[in-house]
Each structure stands twice: as structure tokens, then as C-alpha cells.
């Protein structure tokens, strides 16, 4: 039985009315420049006519030229009319904006309240009607939000499970949340996604079992079409009128059933990404069907466009995977398999021949899934053309949990830059384990989850290093971000053995004895003795190797100490210079006193 891709069909969008279509064109954020240009034209043309009318009027007054008087009156009237039209259009737009806002908030809210107040006990039909109205309001809010451009600015959580006081400042481009396992990265992303998607169920869990629930809240501050807005949820309910904000949220587990030989197309039409892009993440559902759906859409596109691989989607995926992995990647063939299936073959990762897409590495599949879904979502939400330029113009919010999962370290290092280049107007909220992921990030883009001491109430908090991560070496990143600089276990084990002079002497003796024994009569040298000799020689080799490494480390330590000694010399010299400068200043003060003193008169 196929897994349903989205929520129940009852949440689908209602048909838009003609009035709301006109209203949305007039108040459209994208068309605001055209609107202001029209308004300016009307206003300036009106002023020009009025000026002309005044000029003609003065002229006719001075010269008693009666004919000019009628022209002056016409000009003045046309001018006044144009200014009036500009005023009316502007007022209409403002009215429509207000109407659009209130349609989704006041009217529907009043309707719900009226219906709920009028309900009698056991009036289930009435309750259903009220809930339908509430659903309609949510739909209207979402319809409005689909037309808007959002930028998240800050996520705060107070008194919720695991987090006491937490604040995360978000940037318009890339935002990376790092943290160890179990610190709650996914939980924070789910709280953020739940808050902006206005998801009652997933956000309710954060307040369960909290004794201090009166102050507990999660809040997201954002900009909607340049205006400040916020989504807030406390223990009881959402206390704002934002509505559901469009979001694509990709969970950490990006697998699909690789035992299947074909990509099955969902006949129900697949997932509506703008509407349900965060549904699987919020409800922690298996993501395989979504990836299958994406691949199915790609197959259908291929069939619908004369079986061409020169479509924007193929070019896009080819460019992205090749740029990230350094390998050539391409779609090789797509063939129908049964009624609803496709067999997709790709050329990837240096394999000589094509292979079914299911056999590509998990890393490659993960990259295809992430980038393909983002592209599909951004195209759908922004209404831009599906070509490369159209996708690059599209804006939206995309959240990816454990974006570095399954990726080679070199790919981890490149992914944020690739996302930035391919989707320059998309705001990304990413979580990751690997510090390599932040290489190349700018100030404010990196947040690290840290455990705070019990004296500050325990729990976890977010630290945002106020610095750039440009040109930083991987070793430094590991040390600075995750505090990892431990020596490896093999080094510790063998340096320990190397420190034992008696053990080393015993080992050397054993090797010498066994070697002598083997040399004197090779044929009588038992296989077990041979194995013992081989093992001891290897052990001895490893100890010597570690001794060499230790010598190298000591030489580095000596250099560090020499630097420290130089630093001390500099500090001493600086202190001497400061002392001398002070003496000079004192002498100069003394000298100036001497120079300003009155000259001594010498009397004979």
C-alpha cells in the first residue's frame, strides 16, 4: 500500500475569488515598483497640468486674452482629476491591504467566536461548522503568506523542554546550528518549524510537563515583505495572527527504498511542496516517499518533453552534483517499467558504466534529494521560471536537519557555498555535526549548542561566535568548535610501550633470539614461531614509528616554547620603552617649566 505523501485532502486550498485575485495583484509585493511608478506618473502628470493651467490663467489675465482662459480651465481640471485618481488608487490599495489583512483575521475570528458562542451542548454540527471556518481562516492566512517574502530574524525559546533561555539570531542567507548528539539540534529546528508553520500538535509537546508554563514560550521574529512580524506560541495557544508561513523542511534521514528496481510515480499527484513542505519533518514521517515523488516528477517531465535530458532540472542536478563531488554525474537513461514505474540509470562517481539510481552512493542520493527538492520548492513558491536564472531569483525558507549526513568531508566543506551560489535569495536553516560545514561561513551564520552549567539553570544554550570562519584550517575548527584535539588511541598505546625501557629491551631480545633461531635452521623453524617473530617485529616497528612521531612532537613543543620566550622578551622591551617614554615626558615637562621661567637678571 503506498504511503500517503501529504496530510488529509481537507487541508487543500480553496478556489480564489475574483476580488481576492484583483486585490492580490494590486497589493502584490513583487509588483510594488510598478505600482509606485504608476502612482508617481499620475501625480506628476496631474501637477504638470495644474502648473500649465496656472500659467495659462496668468497669461490670459495679463493679456486679456480670453481664449487662453478656457484652456487654463481645462488644464486645471485635467490636472485636478489626475491627482484625484492618484489619490483614489492609493486609498483603494491601502483599503485592499487592510481588507486582505482583516479577511484573514478579524472577520473569520469574529465568525468563529460567534459560532462557538452560539453552540449548544451536543451541537456537533455547529462545532463542525465553526471548525470549518477556522480552517478557512487558516487557508486565507496561508494564501496571503504564499504571496509574501519572509526572512526569519530571531528564534527565542523560554522555559521549554531542554532549553531555559535560548536566543538564535538568524541571517538572511546561511544559518548553521552545530552541536553534539543529544544536545537537541533537531528539537530546536522542530520548534522553529512548528512555530512558523503554526503546527499545534508538534509545538504542544514542548510545553508538556513544565511547571513554569506561564512564562514558557517559543517565538520567531521575522520580516514579511520588509515589515516586522512574529509568530508566538505559549503553553496554551498561538497568540499572533501570522498564519502558516511556507517552509520546506528536510529531515535528517533522506533514504528511499533501494531494494525497489523502479521509481514509482504517485498517481495522486505527489506532494504539494509549498503547502506540505514541512509536514514529514514535523510529524517525523519516513521521507522516502517524498524523494520517490521528486524522482517520479523528474521522470514524468522527461517523458513529457520528448525524452530530453536537456531540461533545466537535469542541467541543474548535473551541475550541482558535479560541482560538489568533483565527479562527473549525469542521467543516462529513463525507461518505463510497468504502468507507474520508471527505471532510471545514472553515470556517477567514476563508475565505468551506467547504474540504476538506487545503486548510487547514499551521499549522492542525499545531495540529489536535497537540491532537487529545494529547486522544486523554490520554483513552485516563487512562481519563477524553472530555468537556472529563475531558480536563482526565487526566495523562500528552507530547513535541513543534519545537512552534512552521509557526505564526504570534502563535500561537507563545499555544501554551504554551493547552496549560497545556487539559491542566493533563499534563507537556509541547517543543522550539522561537522565543524567542516562552517568553513567559509561569515560572522553571525554559525550557532553552537552548548550545555550550560547548573549555576545558570542547566539545560542547553546557543552560542554564536562573533567572528568569521574564513580561511580557517579544519584542525582549528575541530578544536575551536567541538573541543576535539585528543591524541589517537594507537599513538597513546604505543607511546606508552615506548616509555617502558624494559619492555622494549625484552622485545628486542625476543626478536634477536627468534631471528637467530630462524637463521640457524630455517627448515626447523615452526610456523607458530614464525608468526611470533613476525608479530614481535611488527610490534617493534610500530614502537619505533611512534618514537619518531614523539620526537617530531617534541621539536614542535620546543618551537612553541621559543615563541613564548620571544613573547616575554617583547613584553619586557615594551615595558622598558614605556618607562623611557614616561621619563622623557617628565623631562620635557621639567624643561618646559624651565623655559617658561622668567630670565634671571644679572646685576653688576
Amino acid at each position: 500500500m503506498p504511503v500517503p505523501l501529504g496530510p488529509p485532502p481537507s487541508s487543500r486550498a480553496p478556489t480564489r475569488t475574483a476580488v481576492s485575485s484583483v486585490a492580490s495583484v494590486l497589493v502584490s509585493h513583487q509588483l510594488r515598483f510598478a505600482y509606485f511608478a504608476l502612482l508617481a506618473f499620475l501625480f506628476l502628470a496631474g501637477l504638470a497640468f495644474i502648473a500649465l493651467g496656472i500659467f495659462l490663467f496668468v497669461k490670459s489675465w495679463e493679456s486679456q486674452f480670453k481664449e487662453a482662459l478656457s484652456s487654463a480651465i481645462v488644464s486645471l481640471s485635467v490636472g485636478a482629476l489626475l491627482v484625484l485618481i492618484a489619490f483614489v488608487v492609493h486609498s483603494a490599495r491601502r483599503y485592499l491591504i487592510a481588507l486582505k489583512e482583516t479577511t484573514a483575521t478579524t472577520i473569520a475570528s469574529e465568525e468563529i467566536e460567534k459560532k462557538l458562542a452560539g453552540l449548544k451542548e451536543g451541537d456537533f454540527e455547529g462545532l463542525d461548522r465553526a471548525l470549518l471556518v477556522r480552517q478557512r481562516k487558516a487557508e486565507l492566512d496561508f494564501e496571503r503568506n504564499l504571496q509574501s517574502i519572509f526572512t526569519l530574524e530571531e528564534f527565542t525559546a523560554q522555559g521549554i523542554t531542554l532549553f531555559r533561555d535560548l536566543s538564535w539570531n538568524l541571517q538572511p542567507g546561511i544559518n548553521v546550528l552545530l552541536g553534539r548528539n543529544g544536545y537537541g539540534k533537531s528539537l530546536i529546528l522542530r520548534a522553529l518549524a512548528g512555530a512558523i508553520q503554526r503546527d499545534e500538535e508538534s509545538t504542544k509537546k514542548f510545553f508538556e510537563g513544565r511547571s513554569d508554563s506561564s512564562t514558557a514560550a517559543i517565538e520567531v521574529r521575522m520580516k514579511r515583505d520588509g515589515e516586522r512580524a512574529h509568530a508566538r506560541r505559549d503553553a496554551q495557544r498561538f497568540s499572533d495572527s501570522m498564519g502558516k508561513v511556507p517552509l520546506l523542511a528536510i529531515p535528517d534521514s533522506r533514504f528511499f527504498d533501494r531494494s525497489q528496481t523502479s521509481i514509482v510515480v504517485d498517481e495522486a499527484g505527489g506532494l504539494d511542496l509549498p503547502r506540505d513542505g514541512a509536514y514529514h519533518f514535523l510529524n517525523q514521517l519516513h521521507y522516502g516517499p517524498v524523494i520517490q515523488g521528486l524522482l517520479g516528477e523528474i521522470c514524468l517531465d522527461y517523458m513529457d518533453h520528448g525524452k530530453s535530458f536537456n531540461l533545466p532540472v537535469f542541467r541543474f542536478l548535473r551541475t550541482c552534483v558535479t560541482r560538489l563531488t568533483g565527479y562527473t554525474f549525469d542521467f543516462y537513461s529513463i525507461e518505463r517499467q510497468g504502468r507507474t514505474g520508471f527505471k532510471v540509470q545514472v553515470v556517477t562517481e567514476g563508475n565505468e558504466g551506467p547504474l540504476p539510481i538506487q545503486y548510487a552512493s547514499q551521499g549522492t542520493l542525499s545531495v540529489i534529494a536535497m537540491l532537487g527538492l529545494i529547486r522544486s520548492y523554490i520554483s513552485a513558491i516563487s512562481g519563477q521560471a524553472e530555468d537556472q536564472e529563475g531558480v536563482q531569483r526565487g526566495a523562500g525558507i528552507v530547513l535541513i536537519d543534519e545537512a552534512d549526513a552521509h557526505l564526504h568531508p570534502a563535500w561537507q566543506q563545499k555544501l554551504p557555498t554551493l547552496l549560497r551560489q545556487m539559491f542566493p535569495h533563499v534563507q537556509f536553516i541547517l543543522s550539522a555535526h561537522s565543524p567542516l560545514f562552517v568553513a567559509g561561513c561569515w560572522n553571525g551564520e554559525v550557532a553552537i549548542l552548548r550545555r550550560q552549567g547548573e549555576e545558570f539553570g542547566g539545560g542547553f544554550t546557543i552560542e554564536q561566535p562573533n567572528r568569521d570562519f574564513i580561511g580557517v584550517k579544519p584542525a582549528d575548527l575541530y578544536e575551536q568548535i567541538f573541543d576535539i584535539e585528543e591524541l589517537d588511541g594507537s599513538y597513546l598505546e604505543y607511546s606508552q610501550k615506548a616509555s617502558q625501557t624494559s619492555l622494549r629491551a625484552d622485545l628486542d631480545r625476543e626478536v634477536a633470539t627468534l631471528a637467530e633461531e630462524q637463521k640457524s635452521d630455517p627448515s626447523a623453524f615452526a610456523p607458530a614461531r614464525e608468526e611470533q617473530l613476525s608479530s614481535s617485529v611488527e610490534e617493534s616497528r610500530r614502537i619505533r614509528l611512534v618514537e619518531e612521531v614523539t620526537r617530531q612532537r617534541r621539536s614542535e613543543i620546543t618551537k612553541e616554547v621559543q615563541i613564548a620566550q620571544k613573547e616575554v622578551q617583547i613584553a619586557k622591551q615594551q615595558a622598558q620603552i614605556a618607562e623611557q617614554q614616561e621619563q622623557i615626558a617628565q623631562l620635557q615637562a621639567h624643561l618646559s617649566k624651565f623655559e617658561s621661567a622668567p630670565a634671571i637678571e644679572h646685576r653688576p
Binding site: Q496, T501, I557, K572, A575
Partner: protein
């Protein structure tokens, strides 16, 4: 410090790494402990720190320079557990032959350095006059953008944040690799905030305060955290560095309780940052140079510790 670490320090304090390896005492200790969990890692750590002590000793410096070098090494080690082990080894292996005053100096200053950060940045985000845009953010707009980027500036809440403080902290961290305490938001319980501020004021090697007229005004019932922070350090011998971020500070609305604070500011020659409302390179460069100067002054507090070892 664990028992095992203390025992290892006692063993490694007896001589150089090679001497320790050759000693029967080490062989015995090794046989007794080699099976213990964590022994390999602890031994590796103590031995590595002992190698540093050996390298420190091999330079043949006089005691005063030895103490200063040991303090500098403690500062440059990145992890507290390494710093503590190195400190203990110095105290066990070298300090017994030093003069008492040198030993005491090392004991005190090494603890200071282990807990310290280079600076504490004190500033206000209070903004009563212009609710939509803090005048500090407007006056220093181009300098802030130069330091932390246009994106950050455009997306910030310009009424509530002091981005100039963020810019200064960022420049000190990114360009000078200094580590300071910068607390942009006071979230949660005031008692906890107080505790955190006091601890960090005490631990910082220098105290940097951004001076604007606003901080000297009467603000009740809003807490004046700048005054609180100044009071926390004013009795100590910590270097106080004032950065004047407005052209004129004359204390026109000076609150009566802040007289001592204002006098402390007036008596010094502060670092001055000029307005950068427009993208004119000259004032921006001038401010960048001022921040470099600030970095030097902060480092001087560290250098003063090395240069003041008693004879």
C-alpha cells in the same frame, strides 16, 4: 584533578621525560597502573606537559624570565586541563628552587591566566530617544557594515541592538584573535545575569567600556548595567580602557551617583571612534586603526603580567 593525574605528576616531577622513563620508580608505577581505564590518555597528557617543562628549562634563562615564559606557555595552552597539569609540574619541578616572591607570583598569576579572558566589553543597548534606530547604529553605520557585513546590519533590530559593540568585539576576535566577554543580551533572571557579569568582570584581564552620553543618565527603574560593571572593576587594578563613541561627552545629564564614574572617564585619554554615517573610507580606516590600538592596549595588560615578575 584526578588521583591518577596527581600520581603521574608526582612521578614526572622527578626529572626530564627520558630520566623518568629510565627510572625504576616509573617502571613500577607503570606496571601497577597500565590496566586502569584512562591511564594511557592521562599518561600521554602529563608526559606532553613534562616535555614542555623540559623545553622551558633547556633555554637556560634566569629565574625571572623562566617564570614569565612559564606564564606565557600557560596562556598559550588552549585547554584548562593542560594548563593545570603544566602549572602543577612547574610548581613541583621548578618552583621549589625559586625565591618565595617569584613562586608566589607564579602561583597567583598562573591561576589568573587559567581563568582569564582578554577583555570584558561593557556597553549599553539602551535607546530611549529613537525607538526605531539606536543613534549609535546610525552614526557608525558604515564602520559597523565594514566590520560585520551589510547582511547583519540590515537584518538586525536596529532599535534594540548595539551593533557598534558587536562590530568592535568582532574585530578584536577575528583580526586580533583576542577572546573577550561580550554579552549582547540580558536574558532571564537578573540575579543570574549579575552573577555572570561579576564572574566575567573579575576574570577579564582588561575592562573595555564604550562611552556614550546615555550611560551617565538616570535610568531608574531600568538597571544601569554599565555602572554595575564599572563598579565591579573600579576597585581592582585591572586596566580600564574607555572607548568614546560619541563626539562630545560632557555629562550634561549626569546622574548624581555617577560622579566618580564620570571623573574616572574624564581623567583618561580615551580611544575615540568617529562617526561613519557615509561610506567615506577615511573615517572608517581611522576607526579600524583605533580598534587596532585598542587591541594593543588589551594585549599590554597580558604583557604587563610577563614583565612584572619580581627579581
Amino acid at each position: 584533578m584526578t588521583d591518577l593525574q596527581e600520581e603521574l605528576i608526582a612521578v614526572y616531577a622527578k626529572g626530564s621525560v627520558d630520566e623518568v622513563h629510565a627510572s625504576p620508580e616509573y617502571a613500577k608505577f607503570y606496571d601497577t597502573n597500565k590496566g586502569k581505564p584512562g591511564f594511557a590518555a592521562e599518561r600521554g597528557l602529563v608526559e606532553e606537559m613534562r616535555s614542555r617543562v623540559d623545553a622551558t628549562l633547556s633555554a637556560g634563562q634566569n629565574v625571572r624570565d623562566l617564570v614569565a615564559t612559564a606564564l606565557s606557555i600557560i596562556w598559550n595552552l588552549r585547554k584548562d586541563k593542560e594548563r593545570n597539569v603544566y602549572r602543577e609540574l612547574i610548581l613541583e619541578a621548578m618552583a621549589p628552587v625559586w625565591e618565595t616572591k617569584q613562586r608566589d607570583y607564579f602561583k597567583e598569576k598562573s591561576l589568573t591566566l587559567i581563568a582569564a579572558r582578554e577583555y570584558f566589553l561593557s556597553f549599553t543597548s539602551r535607546n530611549l530617544g529613537y525607538p526605531n534606530q539606536n543613534v549609535i547604529n546610525a552614526n557608525h553605520r558604515e564602520f559597523i557594515k565594514e566590520a560585520i557585513g551589510s547582511n547583519r546590519y540590515e537584518s538586525a533590530d536596529l532599535g534594540k541592538e548595539n551593533l557598534l559593540a558587536a562590530a568592535i568585539d568582532h574585530l578584536l576576535r577575528s583580526n586580533r584573535r583576542l577572546d573577550g566577554f561580550f554579552f549582547p543580551k540580558h536574558l532571564g533572571d537578573n540575579k543570574l545575569v549579575e552573577k555572570k557579569l561579576l564572574e566575567n568582570c573579575e576574570q577579564a584581564l582588561s575592562f573595555v567600556q564604550l562611552i556614550q552620553e546615555e550611560i551617565f543618565r538616570f535610568t531608574d527603574p531600568v538597571r544601569n548595567w554599565c555602572f554595575f560593571e564599572f563598579n565591579a572593576v573600579s576597585g581592582s587594578n585591572k586596566p580600564l580602557i574607555f572607548v568614546q563613541v560619541e563626539e562630545k561627552i560632557d555629562g550634561a545629564d549626569l546622574y548624581v551617583d555617577y560622579g566618580k564614574w564620570f571623573t574616572a572617564f574624564s581623567a583618561r585619554d580615551p580611544i575615540k571612534l568617529v562617526d561613519t554615517r557615509w561610506a567615506d573610507r577615511k573615517p572608517i580606516e581611522s576607526n579600524l586603526a583605533s580598534i587596532r590600538d585598542l587591541g594593543d592596549q588589551i594585549l599590554q595588560s597580558l604583557h604587563a603580567i610577563y614583565a612584572s615578575v619580581p627579581d
